[in-house]
């Protein structure tokens, strides 16, 4: 079942066709083990460029693990073993030639809990460009302004760039983390439940921001919030017990799911 099947079904949608014609990430037969425990089972999935793809599913279903595979953050955990292939623009990210830090610059990440560095707002944004070797103050100033504007934060913080980032509100901190990720010009932005710790107003601002960002970036978001997935994403992948159950256009997955499990989860019968 799973991917091939849904691809067949989705083929009648012209917009989907166009998008899938240029998948930026191709995941094929991906399995992941934490020691002896298997967390991902043979996942095959394509992620289309410049759209928002949402991973949904109950807690522990492996959606965050799958997300973290895309920038190899799982490498940091001991005893993790991966089989299968993940290719970004056709290049296998597990290729021994692949520089992990270079991959992470191309695939940015925003975490569930905002994690600004204990530095000034300016230094938070400038961190990425600095480690890429940008020293020139004027260039850095420009990057900081552009990134903060892109993160819809500039007007709020432009007068206090040298104050501690930890003094901002939770929503501002999360937007700062988005801006920090954007400062290194990634192609893909991974968001791991970015709004789970935020109030509805802050969440709305982040969602507006995501809709703007998808014009230029490919966004992959993990969310527990069904409404958020339904309103924001173009494609939805439903996962359960480490398996990819169903993937497709969001409106199709939410209105006419192919699998009973998907329907049960979406309608709130479990999860």
């Amino acid at each position: 079942m799973t991917t091939e099947l849904s691809l067949d079904l989705l083929a009648d949608d012209t917009r989907m066709d166009l998008a899938l014609a240029t998948p930026i990430v191709e995941i094929s037969n991906l399995s992941l083990f934490y020691g002896a425990k298997q967390a991902l089972h043979d996942v095959t999935l394509n992620i289309p460029e410049r759209h928002i793809t949402a991973f949904i599913g109950p807690s522990g279903c492996g959606k965050s693990t799958l997300l973290r595979c895309l920038n190899r953050m799982n490498d940091l955990i001991d005893h993790v073993r991966i089989s299968g292939r993940i290719a970004i623009r056709g290049h296998d990210i597990h290729d021994p030639q692949q520089d992990v830090t270079e991959l992470r610059k191309r695939v940015g990440m925003v975490f569930q809990k905002s994690n600004p560095f204990p530095k000034s707002i300016y230094e938070n944004i400038a961190f990425g460009p600095r480690i890429l070797g940008t020293r020139d103050r004027a260039t850095l100033d420009e990057i900081v302004e552009r990134s903060l504007r892109a993160a819809a934060l500039w007007d709020e913080v432009k007068d206090r760039l040298n104050e501690s980032a930890l003094g901002m509100s939770g929503g501002q901190q999360q937007r700062l983390c988005i801006g920090r990720a954007l400062a290194v010009e990634p192609e893909i932005l991974l968001m791991d439940e970015p709004c789970s710790a935020l109030d509805p107003i802050a969440t709305a601002r982040i969602e507006d921001l995501m809709l703007e960002l998808k014009q230029r970036y490919t966004i992959v978001i993990v969310t527990h919030n069904m409404q958020q997935a339904a309103r924001m994403s173009d494609y939805t992948a439903f996962m359960y017990m480490g398996k990819l159950i169903e993937v497709g256009l969001t409106r199709k997955v939410f209105t006419t799911p192919l699998e009973q499990q998907t329907e049960d989860y979406i309608t709130g019968r479990f999860g």
């Binding site: 920038n71 953050m73 940091l76 001991d78 830090t101 270079e102 991959l103 992470r104 610059k105 940015g108 990440m109 975490f111 809990k113 994690n115 600004p116 560095f117 204990p118 530095k119 000034s120 961190f127 990425g128 600095r130 480690i131 890429l132 501690s164 930890l166 003094g167 901002m168 509100s169 939770g170 983390c177 920090r180 990720a181 290194v184």
Partner: protein, 524 residues
């Protein structure tokens, strides 16, 4: 009506424990301050007429009840301790008098106290001033002016003999060692030129000394004519005739001398400047050594090492090192740093000075290293706790931006842990400044001939022995030939040591507060 709740007793218990702790600390400080602060105040000089006809002139320093084990019902009698000075005349500085032996007590306004370079204080009556054997004047104003002139000349003599002649001696010593290596006429000529300079300076010294012919003639009980060269007088006063303002000035002057001058009279008089200097320099050097070492060790333990039984064992061992008696570190310092390290350095670089050791004996460097080793566990533990408090998500954030492990550690983790490092350093400095036992065998001396940091190349003399306030307290209080005279110095030096520790801590705390303000939250 409030009822007694079960938890209340615990609150009282914990509050009481805190109150007791505070009481003990403040009691200690009060004892030290009360005993130390009054030391420099000019006390009245009293003259005691005894029943047997003797006369004693001096300051009362103590009063105690005479123990009478056999006659418990007899009225209590007291005796007083008098500091009568004039050690050169009477042999001791102090005398005990039974109050029953005293016929009357007066406070003569012309009682003179002279603080001398040698032999301690003189108590007596001024007679006249002689210059070159001629009685010139007994005008007190003129005598004071002559004293100021004598002090100036003495300072000049000090400069010539210590600085100018010292520089010539050092240059000659250098030439001597070069000559030992290779004979050359040029060096010989240089040496001869230096010798001529030396003779010149000696002549200057002789002429300066020749100008110091003033002699103060004073009298004391049983000695109608005591001659004191004015060059030996530090200061002289009539304390009974001093106004309150003059006494305040005197106090300030003595206090300034105490913190700025070198010690005299086997440390019981004068100042403790070299000891302050040595303590501060020692603690600074120790901090410079222990901080990078401790931080790097903690970073490895927490950031790089794979957590497991071995790392746990190392951590326990580090914690236990903090409990090793400090003298053990001193012994290690002597055996490892001085004999092995210093001995090797001497063999390699200073073989021409052997058998006189350069680094192969106690010195500032080895004492700093020993103290750094002693305080290392404190810094490691504090830094490790700071590292544990940094959320892993902060590190993940940096790594997700494409930073390497090193960049993450260097640019994110290290700045964030700095306040914790400073906490460790505050504890380390407090311990190091108060430590004496390991220093006694790794380089502290009773009296150091020169400061370890001065204007002579290479400026910081890591091989020199130095003085230390903690050791000074021990030395003055328990090793002094004149314990009664030295006792107040114990308290004043203690105040000073506390002040030095406090100054260090306040500096570190203010830096830490600024860092915390810069990095930490105001809203969350």
């Amino acid at each position: 009506m409030k009822s007694w709740k079960p938890g209340d007793s615990f609150i009282w218990l914990s509050g009481g424990a805190l109150a007791l702790a505070l009481l003990m600390v403040f009691g200690l400080i009060a004892l030290v301050v009360v005993n130390g602060a009054s030391f420099f105040w000019p006390r009245d000089v009293e003259q005691f007429q005894l029943n047997d006809g003797r006369v004693v002139l001096g300051e009362i320093t103590a009063r105690e009840k005479i123990p009478q084990p056999n006659a418990s019902h007899a009225p209590a009698t007291h005796r007083i301790q008098i500091k009568r000075g004039n050690r050169d005349l009477y042999g001791t500085d102090f005398i005990w008098l039974n109050e029953t032996d005293i016929q009357n007590t007066t406070a003569p306004r012309n009682a003179l106290v002279i603080e001398r370079v040698e032999w301690g204080n003189f108590y007596g009556i001024f007679q006249r001033l002689e210059i070159g054997g001629q009685t010139v004047s007994n005008d007190w104003k003129f005598v004071r002016a002559r004293l100021a002139r004598a002090r100036k000349l003495t300072a000049q003599i000090h400069t010539v003999s210590r600085k100018d002649i010292g520089a010539i001696n050092r240059a000659q010593e250098r030439l001597r060692r070069e000559l030992k290596r290779s004979e050359s006429a040029e060096l010989r000529a240089d040496y001869a030129a230096l010798q001529a300079q030396y003779q010149e300076q000696l002549a200057t010294l002789a002429s300066l000394r020749g100008q110091l012919t003033d002699v103060l003639v004073v009298s004391a009980a049983g000695h109608p004519e005591v001659r004191i060269p004015l060059a030996d007088v530090v200061r002289m006063n009539h304390p009974n005739a001093m106004t309150a303002w003059r006494k305040c000035c005197f106090y300030a002057e003595k206090l300034w001398e105490f913190v700025s001058a070198e010690p005299r009279e086997s440390n019981t008089e004068g100042g403790v400047f070299p000891a302050i200097y040595g303590t501060v320099l020692l603690v600074l050097l120790m901090s410079l050594i222990v901080t990078p070492l401790g931080v790097l060790a903690a970073l490895y333990l927490r950031e790089y090492a794979r957590q497991g039984p071995i790392i746990s064992a190392v951590r326990i061992a580090v914690n236990n090192l903090a409990g090793v008696p400090s003298i053990v570190y001193g012994v290690f310092g002597v055996a490892f740093f001085i004999y092995l390290g210093g001995g090797t350095i001497d063999q390699a670089f200073f073989s021409d000075r052997l058998p006189t050791p350069t680094f192969g004996t106690g010195g500032l460097l080895w004492a700093s290293l020993t103290l750094a080793l002693l305080t290392l566990p404190v810094v490691i533990v504090a830094t490790e706790e700071g590292l544990a408090a940094i959320p892993p998500s902060t590190r993940a954030g940096a790594l997700a931006l494409g930073a390497t492990k090193f960049e993450t550690t260097w640019r994110v983790v290290l700045p964030a842990v700095t306040p914790a490092v400073l906490t460790g350093l505050i504890l380390a400095m407090a311990r190091a400044a108060g430590e004496v036992a390991p220093l006694m065998i790794t380089g502290v001396v009773k009296l150091a001939p020169a400061l370890p940091l001065d204007g002579v190349f290479p400026y910081l003399h890591l091989d020199r022995k130095f003085m230390h306030l903690g050791f000074h307290i021990y030395d003055v209080g328990f090793q002094s030939p004149n314990v009664d005279a030295a006792r107040p110095m114990v308290y004043t030096t203690t105040i000073l040591l506390l002040a030095v520790v406090l100054a260090f801590n306040l500096t570190a705390i203010s830096i830490r507060a600024r860092l915390r303000k810069k990095y930490s939250s105001t809203h969350l």
